[in-house]
Symmetry: C2
């Protein structure tokens, strides 16, 4: 059997905008593994019920092993497959986990501010009421009240200094070559890349230059991702 | 010869408040190395001119090797001395560098807001004009205008989510045991511990609980540090 990843998609199933699925997809390629993606919508929970939970990414490996959660998938990849490490030893993995938390507590809220309505506008109509209700309950306001691109860009600017300082000193977060921490952080940016029409970073920003390098990996896997604005 | 570290001090030379010196001192103990500290004031630049620069920590090893900069000192310790790794391999070290940048771009500004006048009040009178002039030029305002404990505590609260999330999942930043990244971050908190009279964290905060564990390391090395408030 092929190795399969259930991958969040829009109404246009070519639009793949989940940061967590991007992390897993890039991590797979880092190990030199091929992957068939299966488009999945927020409300297709029955289709992944076999995984014992309701979120993607869900990986079904060639031997039918099922793995979920992007961080757990990367840990599992290091344990099961040879090739360059994603996380490395326990100490290195623990630091990657800090960087994961950093990306989820600082970048993700900024990107949500910038692009939540963009996400809403591209998801399948059958997902819209679930998406609106769950997010509006979380934010305590409507999606339209919540989205504020200018404020989101300010939040992003306040979040970026550690990443910028890091990338002033090395080509990738993980050093001379990209690895687990790069995919953890870059996955976040892929949400905006796919759904949002507008630059987040100035081209002379070391973060923007790293973003370009990440887009180019694996034959331009991320760069060639279909984008809402061009469809 | 003994191993020596030039260590920033107050007018009361027992007060050691440099985050960078704390990083190096704890890293030394992590390697099981002993250390003699030599109290140093901001304006004692002649005393460390032999190091080719003007900041502490400066280490003079038993074989007279001279090393500066807390991150470089930790890298050097891993290269020169056996014992538990501080940083580990290149990838792990690169992630530690991200965490260093995180601590310096988010925690340090918050701690400065909270404690800059406290620092000024304990340094040697001979350092005061250097300290005031250099910091006021950087801030574009007087130290007294800059210090705003309430605002600093808000900045700290905004900075802490990734650290808090990390410490909800493990006892230390680096996993089950403290290592390089823990010292990089904890050093920052030692500035406030030594100079500032007032709690920064609620006792049920995982960050506070980690702070307690860090204070206890190496026979309570940090906990037993003389504090301005109790002198």
């Amino acid at each position: 059997m092929a190795r399969i990843m259930y991958d969040l998609c829009g109404e246009d199933t070519a639009l793949r905008f989940s940061p967590f699925c991007w992390r897993a997809a890039l991590a797979m390629r880092h190990k030199g593994l091929t992957l068939e993606t299966r488009p999945w919508h927020f409300t297709d929970t029955q289709d992944i019920a076999f995984s014992g939970q309701g979120k993607v990414p869900v990986i079904v490996d060639e031997d039918d092993e099922v793995v979920t959660d992007s961080f757990d998938i990367m840990t599992w990849l290091d344990q099961k497959y040879p090739g360059p490490a994603l996380f490395g030893d326990d100490m290195a993995r623990s630091r990657a986990r800090f960087i994961k938390h950093w990306s989820e507590t600082t970048l993700a809220p900024a990107l949500m501010k910038i692009a939540i309505v963009d996400v809403f506008s591209i998801i399948d109509p059958k997902d819209q009421s679930y998406f609106r209700e769950s997010r509006e309950a979380r934010f305590g306001m409507t999606l339209e009240e919540f989205q504020d691109t200018e404020q989101g860009l300010e939040m992003l600017e306040k979040a970026l200094p550690p990443l910028r300082a890091q990338l002033e000193g090395s080509s990738f977060i993980d050093g001379d070559h990209p690895a687990g921490a790069d995919y953890l952080v870059f996955g976040m940016f892929m949400l905006a890349y796919v759904v949002h029409d507008g630059a987040l970073l100035k081209s002379d920003d070391p973060v923007a230059q790293w973003h370009e390098r990440m887009l180019d990996l694996f034959g331009g896997l991320a760069r060639n991702a279909p984008r809402a604005a061009s469809r």
